[in-house]
Subunit: 315 residues, 2 copies
């Protein structure tokens, strides 16, 4: 269970009496116990029960009823004085990096990871240094406050390494493919649990996206999706996009789900909410859902050579 | 398609330049055409894409980006100067009432219906008068501004008739069962399209709910659900309920869905959001979801003889 003793100290230091709690999907089952522990410690507790996948989706509705919001599992994407972020750490044995060594071609690489493993970056860099490899760990931007941290929507910490070769340590291939598209560097991905290392290749993703764009080409109406979530709203971008086509209309949504896209009846959509949605969930969506750069290409406002991953960078 | 010419006149009278549009599920497919028509009429348009089932769920997030919100399909449950309500009317032949006549026992009945048919109440009352039956049509409360209108959460217009026998004209049995529980009157329900009339009986619903309450009795944790929707938030009630049990914690939610209830891991819930949820969706929910009066009975704060339907009455 998530330990609450340190948190209780922090809450007492702030002299708060009421606490809102927000858990990402993977930790939500701990809500009853954590809430009970804080209630028994004398706090008025209110839990946010909406689904949550990142610090870009703060439960501000719930915070209206408490002095402070405790957001578990993620580092901040924005500073808010009334939010306490409690990232959750996942450890692994840094000897796992051995599997990546044969794939590295240079002696100076960029090194990035996701929030759960950022605390291991120093140990990883030390492991690589002992094997003659200099690992550059660089600060990202305001949405990734931890040095060396990348998000699925923000690869600034990878770009800032300036390295021609980047090692991503973490699970899944979405982040490393995004890094490749964002940096045009060679990218090696290492899963520290399965110890599987691979050089990633963005070509398949780009070909799949080209097919989605082709399907969207003749669409008679485009819904330009704008998120209502705290850290996903890109209204300025959406307004620029809607001005590119007289078939486009702004659509504000909280959860971008297949059912709602079908109900609304637009022939195609452009997603300015969480960038991963278009890439990860196209198979579930009933109609084409483009990224902002893809819609720009479709409207002739960007060339195919400038195809890029949709990133949400700090202002 | 929903006609927009009258709406355009209203919008010009208000001298607005930007318009937010909100459609309930059944009308959402008209969003692209209505949005395009208003855009072509010179307005900046933004559509709310979240699911919506009533005027209790206004798209205030979307209204932040427009001068006015046009809410289709429902009458207001609250007055807001920046919301235009465009209820949708559904006609039927009032001769359909013939099917209800054999079931009526008295010469003076209460007559109620839902928002889509309220415009037919005068014609229905005239039809009944010609057959020697006085139909009392009464005003409800602030959540049902149309005379003779009931909602699934508010039967004030039925209660206000003071009649021992009430005729409900509309589809489904939820409203008439609610009316029976709320008024303790005899209730006849007429579906004006199938022309099927029946006397409703709340006993089966009450027996089913007793079984749900029995299952919840030993629950080790209760989540007291509070809605974040504009017209569904009953925080005062929720705070009274949470004080009844030291196993209870407040949980704020936007959409009360089976997946979220399961993820959160409370052993049982009490629903202060849309009252229909507990009655209609229990079969879909993974754990018991009680109404506020049911939780009061479970906690000994209300007697079984006072079992009643959960209503959301205007303050």
């Amino acid at each position: 269970m998530i330990p609450v003793s340190d948190l209780v100290v922090k809450l007492h230091e702030r002299a708060v009496r009421s606490v809102a709690l927000q858990f990402p999907a993977g930790l939500a089952r701990q809500a009853p116990q954590v809430a009970a522990a804080l209630r028994d410690a004398g706090f008025f507790v209110v839990v946010s029960g909406d689904p949550c996948y990142g610090a870009c989706d703060l439960a501000l509705d719930t915070l209206l009823h408490a002095d402070v919001l405790v957001h578990f599992g993620h580092a901040p994407v924005e500073d808010r004085p009334d939010v306490i972020y409690e990232p959750v750490r996942f450890d692994f044995d840094v000897n796992a990096l051995e599997a990546a060594l044969p794939l590295l071609r240079t002696r100076r690489i960029g090194l990035v990871t996701t929030v759960q493993h950022v605390h291991l970056l120093s140990a990883m860099a030390a492991y690589l240094r002992e094997r003659g490899i200099e690992a550059v760990v660089a600060p990202g931007d305001g949405r990734t406050p931890l040095v060396g941290q990348v998000l699925g929507c923000n690869f600034a910490a990878a770009r800032a390494t300036g390295a021609d070769e980047i090692l991503f340590v973490g699970t899944g291939v979405f982040h490393p493919i995004g890094i490749q598209l964002a940096t045009r560097s060679r990218v090696v991905a290492l899963d520290p649990y399965t110890r599987k290392a691979q050089e990633v290749d963005a070509d398949r993703l780009v070909r799949r996206r080209a097919a989605v764009m082709a399907k969207a080409e003749g669409a008679e109406s485009f819904g330009i999706i704008v998120s209502t979530k705290s850290g996903q709203q890109r209204m300025g971008l959406a307004r620029r996009l809607v001005a590119l086509s007289d078939r486009a209309v702004l659509v504000m949504m909280r959860e971008v789900s297949p059912g709602e896209l079908l109900d609304l009846g637009f022939a195609a959509y452009v997603n300015t909410a969480c960038p991963r949605l278009a890439y990860d969930d196209q198979a579930r969506f009933p109609v084409p859902v483009l990224t902002p750069p893809e819609f720009e290409i479709l409207c002739g406002a960007r060339s195919w050579d400038d195809y890029t991953i949709d990133e949400y960078l700090a202002a």
